[in-house]
Symmetry: C2
Subunit: 127 residues, 2 copies
């Protein structure tokens, strides 16, 4: 049970977490390079954000050498769940079924994806 379950990352923090989740670990430089592909902000901005995230407990870091190495300190899954929960509450009147159906209905899904979902659904119905 994580101590930081209830910590809600901001949008910028989420962008950084995405990188850390993908790379497993990264330096500020690496995170910044990755973000630069889509976003235009200075290096020290990314640095500052990651420092704040460290203070908040969103990331951990190894500062034994000069160049610090960061890792996410909250899991992708728990963060996804947290945001789904918030969204279900604030936009779907508490019904996650409604969210599922809206998400299912308003985007294209491949044949395989639909089969994946079907499999999960079968499992849930069995229980």
């Amino acid at each position: 049970m994580s101590t930081f379950k209830n910590l809600k990352p901001t949008d910028s923090e989420l962008e950084i977490l995405q990188v850390l989740w993908n790379k497993e670990q990264a330096t500020v430089r690496e995170v910044h390079e990755t973000l630069s592909e889509h976003k235009d902000a200075g290096y020290t901005t990314t640095l500052k954000l990651m420092q704040i995230m460290f203070e908040k407990g969103l990331v951990k870091r190894d500062d034994s050498s000069k160049t610090h190495i960061y890792k996410a300190n909250i899991s992708k899954e728990s963060t996804q769940k947290q945001f789904i929960g918030k969204m279900v509450h604030s936009l779907f009147g508490g019904s996650s079924t409604e969210l599922v159906m809206q998400a299912l209905g308003s985007a294209q899904h491949s044949e395989e994806d639909l089969n994946e979902i079907q499999k999960l659904l079968d499992n849930l119905k069995k229980k």
Copy 2:
């Protein structure tokens, strides 16, 4: 095609929109009374928020009499879609299927709800 499609309501604005979507229309007083059940903020706070929402185009109002009457100016569905899209992008690497499966897997769904989802899924597969 709404002019305000890309306008992203804040958390407080979403609370107010919820009330307006439920009631179809409401005065500041009514919205405030409703919010007061769960939240503790002053009347003028709600008023100010709704004034800002009006400036942004999130709500429209009839100010022909002293007590203004507000209505939502963006639909619940389009707002849901907007937030789903944002979340898919920021937390699910662009895959709405992943969102569907996470939402499906991490909350309880009743027998009927599962059947509803099944029906929708069948429909999508047919196409």
